[in-house]
Structure formats: C-alpha cells, structure tokens
Symmetry: C2
Subunit: 251 residues, 2 copies
Amino acid sequence: MIVILSQIIVKLFSFADRNTQKPLKDMKKLQLQIKMNSALFLRNPESSELGKNIIMHSIQLIHKNGFESFTFKKLAEDIGTTEASIYRYFENKHKLLVYLTAWYWGWLEFQIAYSTNNIIVPATKLKRVIKLLVSTVEDDEQTGYVNESLLHQIVIAEGSKAYLTKQVSDDNKQHFFKPYKDLCGVVGSIILECNPRYKYPKSLASTIIEMAHFQNFFMNNLPALTDFGDSKEEKDVLSFLNDLVFSSIRK
Amino acid sequence: MIVILSQIIVKLFSFADRNTQKPLKDMKKLQLQIKMNSALFLRNPESSELGKNIIMHSIQLIHKNGFESFTFKKLAEDIGTTEASIYRYFENKHKLLVYLTAWYWGWLEFQIAYSTNNIIVPATKLKRVIKLLVSTVEDDEQTGYVNESLLHQIVIAEGSKAYLTKQVSDDNKQHFFKPYKDLCGVVGSIILECNPRYKYPKSLASTIIEMAHFQNFFMNNLPALTDFGDSKEEKDVLSFLNDLVFSSIRK
DNA sequence: TATTTGTGATAGTATTACTATCATTTTCAA
DNA sequence: TTGAAAATGATAGTAATACTATCACAAATA
C-alpha cells in the first residue's frame, strides 16, 4: 500500500522472506518517505545504501562538529568510502545542507498533518503545532536512515545557513525552500482559522517557526537573550510562544 | 571634549588649522567611537589607516559578495595591501564578522539611547526602538570609515552566522556578544517599563531584534514567508512588529 | 551473457587559510 | 635629530579544502 499526500509518501511494506516469499510478521512496517526535489542532488541518496549512509553520517558529523568544519573528505572517511563517491550524490555541502533541512521541513509538515488530523478547534490545532515546533523530537522509527532528533538540532543551529546566502534567490527559483514555505503556509492558514481577520498570518508563522528554534538556541548558548537561561526548559519557550501568538491573534 | 557612556565614546573635536592653530569653524565635528572588545582583534583597526581600510573595505566586500566568498586575499587586493598585513589585525574572517556585528550593535545602542533620550512614555520609547531596528539607516557621518547602511544589510544577511557556530560558548565567554546582549537588555527593560508584569521581556526583545531583520530578509528574498512580498516595504514590517509587541505586553 | 551503472582507487588542480621571514618605511621617544 | 621600535610590504611556503578526471572492477539488469 502506498499513500501519497502532497510531499509525503507513506509506504506500508510487507516484508517477505527471500526464499519462501511468505510475509514476515514482525517486519510489517509503516514507512515514511519524504518526496524530495531532485534538483537538490545528482543521484538520489534514497536509491542506494551508500546514499543512505551519506545522509545518516552527514547528520551525525554536522551535529557533532558543526557545518563549518564538515567536509566531504571527513564524511567519506566516516562512511568508509571516497570523496569522489560522495560528489556523485551531492554537488557540494551547501546542497546537502539544503537537502537535510528540506527533508526536515517536509517531515515536520507530515507530523503536523498527522497530529492535528482530527482536531476541530483551530486554537487547539495551533497549540499542537507550536508544541511540535518547540519539542525535541524522538527518533522516528518510520524513517530508517534519518535520525530526526539530531536533525532537529542541526536545523536549530545550522538551518538558517541554508538560505542566508548570496544564492538564495537562485535556490528559491529552483524551489529548494518549498517545504519550508509549505510549512509556513500550513501554519499561516491555521492562524487564519483562529482569526480570519488577523493581518499577518505568514509573518507570524515564520516568526513562530524561527523563534521556536532561536529561543532554544539562545537558551542553551546565549542565555542572556532569553528569560529561560536558568531553567533551560523547552516548556518555557512553549509558554512564551503561546503567549506571543495568542495575544496577537485574539486581540 | 570626550563623553563616555558605557560602550560609546563621543568625542567633540575642534579641528585646528595646522599653521595658525585657529579652530576651523566648519570642521568642528562630533565623532562617535564605539568601544570594542580588544579580544576581537590582534591590532586595533581604529589605530591606523590600514586598520580603517580593513573595516571599510570588508564591509563593502561582504555586502557585495557575501560572507562565504569573502577572503582576506580578496580584501587585501581590494585595499591594495597584502594578506599578511590583514592577518596582523584579525586572526580570521570569523573574528572580523563578529567585530563588525558587535560594532553595529554598539552603534545601535547609542542611536537608541540618543533618540529615546527625552521620551517619558515607555510605549512611545518602545515604538521608537522598533522603528530604529527595522529602518534602513542612513550612512552616519559621525563615524568616518564605517558605512552603517551597508553594515545594516550585512547584519541582516550574515549577522546570525556570528553566533551560529560550534564555538559560540567560547566566544561568549570572551564577551564577544556583549553588545548584542546589552542591546537586548535595554530593549527588555523598556518592555518592562511598559508592563512591569510582562513575563518574557528578554525573549520578546530578542524576538523583536531578530524578526526586524529576518522579516526584512524574507520579504526581499523569500517573500512567501511574509505578508509583505508585494509591497516590500519596511513600514509593513514595522506594523507587524508593533502589532506583535503591543498585543503581547498590553494583554 | 553482454552491457550498463555504480563504486573504489588514485591523481591532480586551484583556492583557502593560514605562518614565517626579511627588508623597508614610518613613528616616536630620547 | 637621531636611533630604536613598530608597522608594513614583499615573498615564500604549507596543509587543508573543494573540487574534477580517469580507469579498473563489481554489481545489477536486460
């Protein structure tokens, strides 16, 4: 079974035994696949073991040492392959970063769609969304080679670098940031559901998204910029954002 | 006359004629000097022509080509000096970026102090502050070698890279971000003047500061993330932020 | 089984990010 | 005004980065 909803493909695999062809009970799994813009890569990393290793190990390495010190050479050594092989998948490390963040936004949009599915009251929906944006994610077993928890932290610390470049307009023309914009659109329309007369739904949406991450980063690294330096708790960021958002739209 | 207020030094120079020693009328100038953390440089760039050239040309080059493609070699060529000479002033380009952003925050704090000087009503003060944060600055003649207008745009597009690094905590220990934190403190206390019971003054302050820049960047580069993509006008960002801030603190 | 496709191994280049040395010029203090 | 100290320029060199190219071999596929 395959379900496709806009950018996300949900596959229900029935793993079968290689020899007997009988379905294996415990290997029946729901598998999430985020549809990626193919202009982001030279060869689809999902299509091979090496590709999946590139994603998996790049997440680990960027998380560990930061994007600046991350190189394809180090990644190759980490995986046990060669630099040249990695260049067959990604043109350069910038594209890889954009790929990773785009994947994250796509994944998050699915989480939001999934977790606000049956909720009718828009304000409740919006609260769920904010919570998802702020919260540390657990590693999602539905997506084999991606560690969402690490990726979340990468998006916090390095995500902005994906678009804070001179090529942002070119990249945008190639729709590299579509998942981010889609997410922003989804959040914006929930805001409008809450208050159809609110004037800045998209700007408020991007503010929530950015601040969910920046306040977290500040809290942990430059605590004087926040009011949560002592507690360092996500729930405080959550309270702040809820207060900010709902006082704006319920005026 | 020299006036010193926390981080800023205001010098009133009476330029005198070299020969007659009579003060020259039209050359009487107010000169602003931002006090910089000396751990940011190896040799103080304010102390020499070459140093001032480094600041002036680095602002031009980073603005023109972006921080990623900016190198000390290109800067040296632009100035007409050598790479080695530049390394005598700054350890590396990261320190230079931190220097430039720190300078900007210091300068902005002075602008805020100056322009809210005689205002009594806190809300009016806060509005002024938001306006200063959002507005394109005119090149300030009081600061010879710094083009504040270009620097403002650099801070918008590259400013976050000053702290989004693995060394952020080390840099913070050396007080590299003090000007930013001070500014945030100033804005936070104006917020508290408006409403002493508001719970998140510092987080709201950093939100205003970051969003004043990010919404501007989005508006011009990723307009789908804002509600101002059509107009592309600063006054719209201003309205959004005013709405956001005052509905939060006047609840 | 022949052919395409992907990977590994190796090599090579231009640029970046520095460090080092030494001669020359400028500054400043006695 | 002179003489030492400090700053700059000129040049060279190194290790790492960010790639590109080539060829042999293995695996998948038709």
